[in-house]
Amino acid sequence: MTHYLLRRLPSALVVLAVASFGIFAMVRMVPGDPVSTLAGPDATPEARAAIRADLGLDQPLLTQYVHWLGQLAHLDLGTSYRIGGQVKDLVADGAVNTIVLTLTALLLASLAALVCSVLAVVLDNRWVNAALSFGNTLAIALPTFVTGLVLILLFAVVLPVLPAGGTPPDGFIARPDIAAQYLLLPAVCLALGAGAALTRFLTEALRTEMRQPYVTTARALGISRRRIVLTQALRNALPSAVTVLGIQFGTLLGGAVLVEAIFTWPGLGGLIEEAISGRDYPLVQVLLLLSVTVFVVIQLLTDVVHAWLDPRIRIGGTGS
């Protein structure tokens, strides 16, 4: 296991190292500059020069990069140019919201996928399959921005039972019942596509498992189909499902950008858009690097979980 992890770590670190430089350089190559955004149209050239020097942007690029790396090494993410305040705080605030939203969506998607696919395989009924497949395809085919608006229109405007957007006023912990209602629409909107994709995958994986010889063995032993699905096929499909879940998590994070915009959910999506449009270098850098890091970590994590779930990798080696 540790051996397994160790083998993957170096390439992950290489990706991160390359990413840090790539991001740093790219961010600075973007046309437009933070100073003019910051200073506004009425600033005098002297004022702009003062701001430029203040931000350290008059230094050579490499010096700036080394400086940034040094900061990172001390876990100092720098100060936002535009929004002001510590990048650390900004990112932390946004990250909490994004993570809560994404994880809820992931949970919803996984639960729905589990229930739907198990139902489909256990019942193995033509009509159930057709209905699920139809719903599934539709859920994948409906763009997020469409479902989001329909949900708002339905549940917040026509039938005002749920908030149209925003985060719960007292945070997620104080009033979980209220928080749940704020979360529901955006999470459902975000989860729809991922849930459908997961359902599709899991149903197919379960069907494939149900065609495996060990299932025939189990059936020949008089174990019911339902029980085989729940105790054996599912367990076998799990490792690869975890991999897909990892991929879906990445997709969800990406989709969150749009969902956050639709539901005015103050997460990282809005922050990154604002940071890029304001050329807020410290913030953009950290956010982009964070995005890569999350991706890399998820990959590592799914690999590890996959390995852990699969005794063939976990224990390894053949006997005899």
Partner: protein, 526 residues
Amino acid sequence: MPRPPARPSLLRALVLALVSLLVVSSLAACSSAVKEASSGSEDSGPTDGGTLRIGSTNDIVPASIFTNSSDAANTLIGAVYDSLIDYPQDSLDPQPRLATSWEVAKDGLSITLQLRDDVTFHSGREFTSKDVEFSIKTWADPTWTVQLQRTAAAVTGFDTSDPHAITLSFDHPLSNIFDLLDMLPIIDSESFDQLKEGKAYVGTGPFVFTSWTPSSKLEFTRNDDYWGDEPHLDGIEVDIVSDPQAQVSQLRSGQLDLITGASNRDLETLGKDDSYTVTPFDGSVQQIYVGADLANPDLQDVKLRQAIAYALDRQRIVDDVFRGQGTPINLPWPDYSPAYDAKANETYAYDPDKAKELVSQLGSHPTIPLAYSAGNANYEAVAQIVQSDLEAVGIKTELQPVENSQFIKQLIGGTFGGLWILQHGYAHYTPSTLAVSAYPFNADKNASHFVDKQYKEDADAAWERVDGSDSGAVEIYQRLNKDLLDNLFLIEIALLHFTVASSDQVHDLGMSKRGELDLDAAYLSK
């Protein structure tokens, strides 16, 4: 065959879990987020209490908190700070605020203000003349990039010997000194470092800043020690809702009480609904215009710019895009401005035939880029109408949505190379403020690359006067008007009013000339 004892089936558990999650959260049986969201005024009396929730399109940017650049910043300044004097909505007649009375020296080179002696900052510190000096000097600092920086910097002498009176002296007469006093917030010097970081905003105003969550919300509570009439509201919450559509949705679902960013079309729709109030504020205005970069050889010929001015169907833009909430103009001034000239304002009435004729005199010319700030629905619509109007008279344009930060950079650098669409402000103050403060009109350097000796002379003359509204001033303004109309480096389209929409529970809203919400008297009814 003996059946094995029933085990809780995993399948059943899963179904239960999912169903219950959905039921619990969607039925909202016992506690509804929506109900709680709109219950702010439920228990309070008709006048006192409640938190007003305002939807704002843009978040504050600490580094440019004084630039009037975002609705959230405007709300913050208006709620937390006081100015020395106040202009009423529809005139330029100064009224007392922190200053109780004032006297301008005959030569126009100084002004003495008597200050209130019963005012304290939110920190408890007493407000004195030193604070006035500090605030003006802050505005004069170019790093804050305040529009009136030149005016603030022209204040060179401060006599603060009396803590409750101050004498300001200038190098030359400042016709717009009251504009500065109206706009300038009185800032607390002790907490200034925290202000730079966005951590504290300490003023003397009716509301106390309590917290800021970047890109999410700002919170304020009532200032119980306010020197004026105590506000009715317990507090204000400014929610950053960048999407105008979402603001409307949240107003409709009761999550917001007041929104500042609704599109004119939504305002129109909301206005027809009894549950909502749409309040236009006539005094604080902005002007939408088409700028022309004279560095583009095609635009150098004033005939083409005249053709553009004739070709624009301004009334249609006001009607279709701004839903009637505006006035077609040729000159920027609102009707109460001393520079207002009703006749001159119709110099370039919609006349496509005339425009065609002018274009035909020019011969062929290539397609001209027409830039606007991407993502802004109004600009996008106006740009498309402008494009269509110009095409109808034979001027081809190519729309260029430009990302905001780049748009500003191009504006500063004067690198549009064609036409652009934008709004400007400051025409509702003393006319000279526009010429020295609003970037597009700056006689020294502007995005149009328009340099004209006459215009510069007239602009400076308007500024360096004792009085900004006497007959001598009006004469100068007429010369300025002529400069603007003859050169047309900036083709005005319409004058627009600030308009907010609120639920019918919100009453007695006000707005300062600066475009800051005035919530001193506002209250929430049941």
